[in-house]
Symmetry: C2
């Protein structure tokens, strides 16, 4: 069972788009996937067209179990959704003096073992819940938009991961995912080269700009449902296949 | 003296780009501007090419005054920068039972009166520091990317503002700023129409997609320095002029 966080401190770099489409891509290949939305924005449920009965907030406060909150959204794909009520428990986590970073792990571990993959969609920023996500994850997919502001944010994120890995030895930035590759822009080649110099083989095949990825959200569909022949579908397929290929060396 | 927050829960919609360029545009027109970065990502200092001696974290913990932390970055434009250390005081704010939302206001009010404008660059999300920003601000510029995920995030943000305005009667979403207007995409017209139906005259002239806005960050320049004849410069000029025009009815 693999626990993968889709995380990056910078906003709007494609975390949710990646979490949704990787989760569905794995589900389409027969893996049992639990997608957990850990962001008060609650965008996973909206992206998938789901109205949840219970959210992660109620799991963290102990009102329901993770198993009760996990909702089937597609074959092989369950979701624990979030909404703005998550800021309540997030505040509670912030107020704990000790072991506040283990709350998410304790809430999810029992249920997680029933799945092949747990995919966590992280919120932007450095808050206590985001730290919980990285304290629980084993692998990280770090989407990095090919723009100077996001590239600079990547440096901060790596330092953030270093601080957290002192408490979580397993934490591994396994997939550095360049996003918003725009053939018309002048800078991508040099930014891709910088990423490869720094992260080597961890750098994945980039996700190209494809407006259908943005549109699919409005139709509450993944890219594989909305536009299976699109560049977005091809690029996310390549990422899913790479993740699956890594199963052999668990 | 006007206190304007550039805020939106959704990530990557152009908050920092807007804060920097509005602040500099006002400064170029002779207004004294204090830009306050309230985001642990600390992107304002990077965007302007500044290495701060003190940050907002040290102001909030009382180690320095806001006046000591405010650094001149351009004529008429001072910056109180941030970095990831801000997550310390942010945690402290979260842990206060009462009046935690007034900490930023108390820290800044004395210094703010020396300026014509205080522009606050907000972090994405709903955390306690973001609430401090909206508890202090009088006016809000809400950038909203013309994409379904960001449009949906706008609804959440409006509800968030409603909750906060019970404590802050002055808070006014005065400027709804459509961003990333892409002539090639199919949806913008209907999304712009939706915004105008909902927000009427508060909807500003949109900021078009312009790669020079992204590039200027890498050169540590505002759009007015990097590409004064660009679409990005023209669009942010229109916004600055609208903000200035509103000075007459203070
Ligand atoms: N490759 C792409 N091409 C075009 N649009 C994209 C692409 N990837 C993502 N988008 C769109 O860009 C916006 C930002 O993406 P997304 O919401 O996934 O980022 P995020 O990192 O989860 O943001 P946040 O920090 O707010 O959680 C969304 O409207 C999304 O649909
Ligand atoms: N109109 C535009 N055209 C092209 N690129 C833009 C435009 N506006 C902003 N950008 C770029 O898009 C990215 C996101 O913008 P920005 O960082 O200002 O958003 P933000 O809302 O502050 O993000 P965060 O939520 O992380 O604080 C940056 O790389 C920025 O340079
Ligand atoms: Mg997201
Ligand atoms: Mg920003």
């Amino acid at each position: 069972m693999r626990i993968i966080a889709v995380a990056m401190t910078k906003g709007g770099v494609g975390k949710t788009t990646t979490a949704i489409n990787v989760a569905h891509g794995l589900a389409l290949r027969g893996r049992r996937v639990l997608l957990v939305d850990t962001d008060t924005q609650g965008q996973c449920a909206k992206a998938l067209g789901i109205q949840p009965d219970f959210t992660l907030a109620e799991v963290l406060t102990g009102q329901v179990t993770a198993a009760e909150a996990a909702l089937k959204t597609r074959n092989n794909l369950h979701l624990i959704a979030s909404d703005f009520h998550l800021s309540g428990p997030a505040l509670g986590i912030a107020r704990r003096e000790h072991d506040g970073h283990a709350i998410l792990k304790r809430a999810l571990s029992g249920t997680a073992s029933r799945y092949d993959y747990v995919i966590l969609d992280a919120a932007p920023g450095f808050d206590p819940l985001a730290i919980n996500v990285l304290a629980y994850a084993q692998e990280v997919i770090g989407p990095v938009a090919l723009e100077p502001a996001a590239m600079v944010g990547m440096l901060d994120f790596v330092r953030h991961l270093d601080r957290i890995s002192r408490h979580n030895r397993k934490l591994n930035l396994r997939y550095v995912l360049p996003t918003f590759l725009d053939a018309r822009a002048r800078q991508p080649a040099s930014m891709l080269a910088q990423l490869r110099d720094h992260f080597g083989d961890a750098v994945c095949q980039p996700i190209r700009v494809n407006v259908q990825l943005a549109e699919s959200f409005g139709w509450h569909q993944t890219i594989f449902e909305y536009a299976p022949s699109s560049r977005g579908a091809a690029d996310y397929t390549a990422l899913v296949e790479r993740i699956v290929a890594d199963e052999t060396d668990a």
